[in-house]
């Protein structure tokens, strides 16, 4: 019989305070997608190999499939839903750059790619190509090819720098 002992966890998800109950074995992936309906977080390998379940934990990317839910107590979680500009014509700079550069094809890895790019650009507004490749190295894309994605991040960085200068 499965154990039903519940653990109370509080965290901030995309700027909103959440109080939930989870089991000791629950992953953050299961909690986000099944309990909290953040559908941008995708299921992939469940082993930390493909990266499509990436979310930002206190501003840094982590694999949600490897993160126990109880471990995020008191933390800030960001998913693609938290990027400002949810409307079609009001996209975040990274989202705009991905669209302009055709940096998505099937789109399955795109939320994770965008979050990893965001984490990089928050810390390093002017990254080199190698730094972008390193930042995206934990997410697999099986259809676009990586160059349009790298170019999109370069463009997003430029757009964000220009915005800051204005």
């Amino acid at each position: 019989m499965l154990n039903e002992t519940r653990i109370k966890v509080r965290f901030i998800l995309n700027g909103e305070s959440r109080n939930i109950e989870c089991m000791a074995a629950d992953t953050l992936f299961d909690t986000l997608r099944d309990s909290l309906g953040t559908m941008s977080v995708k299921q992939g390998c469940d082993f930390g190999g493909c990266g499509v379940c990436s979310v930002l934990l206190d501003g840094r990317p982590v694999y949600s499939c490897l993160m126990p839910t109880w471990k995020v107590e008191g933390s800030k979680i960001e998913t693609l839903e938290g990027l400002k500009g949810k409307e079609l014509m009001n996209l975040d700079a990274i989202q705009q750059a991905f669209a302009t550069n055709f940096a998505q094809q099937c789109g399955y890895c795109t939320p994770a790619m965008i979050l990893n790019a965001k984490a990089l650009l928050e810390r390093n507004p002017n990254p080199s190509v190698d730094q972008i490749k390193d930042a995206l190295s934990g997410v697999l894309c099986r259809c676009t090819g990586y160059m349009p994605i790298v170019e999109a991040v370069m463009q997003a960085a430029m757009m964000r720098r220009k915005k800051t200068q204005v």
Partner: protein, 301 residues
């Protein structure tokens, strides 16, 4: 919704958060508890059915073992660095004690092979205590001659060499790793070379070297060579080290010694991506690259 497939093979009932080393090791008395640090291998092991009897997860994040600092008593010759077992890869690579120092260049290379998602959570202690031959970081820590500080009920805090640990990791199953210590000395440098299908994936084969050159003669004063993903546990190449010690590190000498290495390692095991014969073939090549890189770095100092 619960992941029922996972819960069929992994169904812990509680999370314990000890606040002292003593409390932490008390939890290890029962066979149904498991320490979790960065959690990078927890669910992989669980899905393979290896944690079926685990009922208590022991969270050690409140033990104050996330730090990187220089030891207080230092000699001018040797600088010792202390790294708490709960320190993440990211915290180590961003430390000014590691960055730009040739003696730790191999350490940084190994840490940066992991993607950011792993670097942000994986801990130095977790990578050692997993005691597997195919993790990158322990290979370099082995080459650096790391000393491990454990805490056990019987002995309290005590130090052992990483060499002793890898001879029989199972001996330390009831102990808690709390700190890793490694030293650097002038004219020393390290390197790490990994052969893999995907950089952030597990290695097909890898080598790490730490070399200290004699200040005046520029001969190899001290050398440690370690191989990983080839034998069951990381292994030192004592005979190759002995052959190279007190020799001038010319490319001819290094190449000649490395070519012998494949015959000196008898227990190379195949993996899904490489046969024993293939690993024997690449060993001298990886080893030569690791040694020449470390020598170049030590020479530039």
């Amino acid at each position: 919704m619960r992941d029922l497939e996972l819960n069929m093979v992994f169904d812990p009932s509680e999370v314990l958060r000890p606040s002292s080393f003593q409390d932490a090791v008390e939890t290890l008395d029962s066979s149904d508890s498991k320490i979790v640090a960065g959690n990078t291998s927890l669910y992989s092991l669980a899905r393979k059915g290896r944690l079926e009897n685990i009922k208590k997860l022991v969270d050690i994040s409140k033990l104050g073992i996330s730090y990187i600092k220089e030891a207080e008593s230092q000699t001018s010759e040797e600088k010792k660095i202390l790294v708490g077992a709960g320190t993440t890869f990211q915290e180590i690579t961003s430390s000014s004690l590691i960055n730009g120092r040739p003696e730790y260049a191999g350490l940084k290379e190994a840490l940066n092979k992991s993607p950011p998602q792993i670097r942000n959570v994986a801990t130095i202690g977790g990578s050692i205590c997993s005691a597997v031959s195919f993790y990158d970081l322990p290979i370099v820590l082995f080459a650096l001659g790391t000393t491990l500080k454990f805490f056990s009920k019987k002995e309290g805090e005590h130090l052992i060499t990483i060499d002793s640990f890898f001879q029989n990791p199972a001996l330390y199953g009831k102990s808690l790793l709390i700190e890793c210590q490694f030293s650097s000395s002038p004219n020393s440098a390290s390197s790490f070379v990994k052969l893999c299908r995907r950089m952030s994936g597990y290695a097909v084969a890898m080598t790490a070297a730490r070399i200290k050159l004699d200040r005046t003669s520029r001969e190899i004063d001290d050398i440690r060579l370690v191989i990983g993903a080839m034998t069951k546990t990381p292994q030192r190449l004592n005979q190759v080290e002995e052959e190279l010690r007190h020799k001038e590190p010319s490319i001819e000498t290094i190449t000649r010694m490395c070519e012998k290495s494949a015959d000196l390692v008898h227990d190379i095991i195949p993996s899904v991506h490489a046969s024993t014969a293939y690993k024997k073939r690449v060993l001298p090549i990886l080893l030569r690259e690791a040694i020449t890189t470390a020598v170049e770095r030590a020479t530039e100092r």
